[in-house]
Amino acid sequence: MGAGRLYATVALGGFRRYATYRAATAAGVFTNTVFGLILVYTYRALWDLKPHLGGYDQAQAITYVWLGQAFLSTLAISGGGVEDELMERIRTGDVAIDLYRPADLQLWWLAADLGRAFFQLLGRGVVPFVFGALVFPAYLPADAGRWAAFLVAVVLAMLVGFGLRYLVALSAFWLLDGTGMTQMTWLLGYFCSGMLLPLNVFPGALGTVVRALPWSSLLQAPADILLGHGDPLRTYLFQGAWAVVLLGAGRLLQSAATRRVVVQGG
């Protein structure tokens, strides 16, 4: 079997695995919709007072809320991607089995995570977004090219998201119990990706800093393209650069871990 086909199969497996839990998906859609509702009301109160806050008008702010809810599980912004499982395998020592498989550890988990992400986008992302767009006066571009450019940014966001979470997962080789590490990163990620408030609303220097961090590739970058606020090429370059840096760091850490660390036995 060619390497490409192997990883495609792993990705498909990831997709189908998450597609199995229909009740869980429906529950997730419901929860995302409730959170979207709460945020929409607060954003409307905010944009009523400041109609052009962060360069968005109220309709664009509403679209932003529902994009955030669509991406929360897709990009595993507050956790819930494959990293939990990888970390558990490192803790129990099962990772030794993964390491002697004739496949690359990072690519294997990347493929599994992309499969998961595409399912979450379709299964959990689309419904809350459509609900939000129908019930509230949201901004939706009529230009199909804009939507295509947006989708490219979403795929790049998936790569950056995985790059970040893979680093976190590998920390379990040294820490064993990765709960603390995961929690810290998802907190940081939730705030810095703009889930609570769009990053272009952040004031002054804080705004500049958060916009330069990798998390701004997740929600803010695709949102800016859809809302007509960012130049697609420059956004892709930014996301791509972070993807390369993070995935490269993941490779380095992976080789350090597999060379120096003694796997937990038992």
Binding site: R22, A24, A27, T179, M181, M184, Y190, F191
Partner: protein, 273 residues
């Protein structure tokens, strides 16, 4: 007398199991320190987002920052206490799936106490601490005309709020007997509920406020008491006596939640694996 014995037995079992989990967590001290800080920071970022909003506007829904912080503090402390005491109940779905609930059923201790104390997480004190700090800050900034009634209302509100959220957790767990995989639905009411209550009622649509007052009475956790203490009108017309109602509402919430739990537990069929 039998009921009372059972309650004491439950409390004792809860204490023993929780104590065991605390000792177990302390085996990984670095992780414990990080998760406690994380629990503190989680809610801290929530509040930072509110402060960032206020860096752009002076009032949200007509409420100033200290007033919103007051709402935030009351909601965060009530929810944090409930989450500490009984928050592990959202793991019930997993126990139902893999059949490990059976182990709890054969032990000579009340199942509710065992499930509530399962994986007791002391780190959740981080959330309570952060909420208390915000509440303290809000009280120092607010110019409230304190009366004996208002002072008495504060601890009552926190305890009732905690009980109301506990009822939501128990009802959510009971729902999992039916829904199994759908454990995430309860997050919409627990985490979603506390997020909702961090903002003034005037921000939300009338229908939503009505639902949160009459159907799922989360408004009694902080909106109604805060409106009374701050002397602000509530968006709905309500009789004056509802101000003292939070303890009553808490009892009214806990009763059906307890019944739902019993019904759920009775209907349980093991997966057999």
């Amino acid at each position: 007398m039998a009921e009372r014995g059972r309650l004491a037995e439950g409390v004792r079992a809860y204490r023993l199991i929780a104590g065991m989990w605390i000792r177990s967590t302390m085996a990984y001290r670095a992780s414990f320190a990080m998760t406690t800080f994380g629990s503190f920071a989680a809610t801290f970022f929530d509040f930072v987002a509110i402060m960032l909003m206020f860096s752009r506007v002076d009032a949200l829904g007509g409420w100033s920052l200290p007033e919103v912080a007051f709402l935030y503090g009351l909601s965060a402390v009530s929810f944090g206490l409930a989450d500490l005491v009984i928050g592990s109940m959202d793991r019930l779905g997993r126990r139902l799936r893999d059949g490990t609930l059976d182990t709890l059923l054969v032990r000579p201790a009340p199942v509710l106490a065992q499930v509530a104390a399962d994986r007791f997480a002391l780190r959740r004190l981080g959330r309570v601490t952060q909420g208390s700090l915000v509440l303290g800050w809000a009280l120092s900034r607010l110019d409230v005309d304190w009366t004996a009634g208002k002072l008495l209302l504060m601890p009552l509100t926190l305890l009732s709020g905690c009980a109301i959220f506990c009822a939501v957790f128990v009802a959510g767990a009971a729902f999992q007997f039916v829904a199994q995989d759908a454990s995430e639905v309860q997050n919409a009411f627990t985490y979603g509920g506390t997020t909702l209550l961090q903002y003034p009622p005037t921000v939300f649509g009338k229908e939503l406020v009505r639902g949160v007052t009459f159907v799922l009475p989360l408004a009694f956790v902080n909106w109604l008491p805060a409106c009374y203490v701050l002397g602000r009108p509530y968006p709905l017309e309500l009789p004056g006596w509802v101000v003292g109602a939070p303890p009553l509402v808490a009892v009214v919430c806990c009763a059906p939640a307890g019944l739902a739990w019993r019904a759920g537990l009775r209907s349980y069929r093991s997966t057999g694996s």
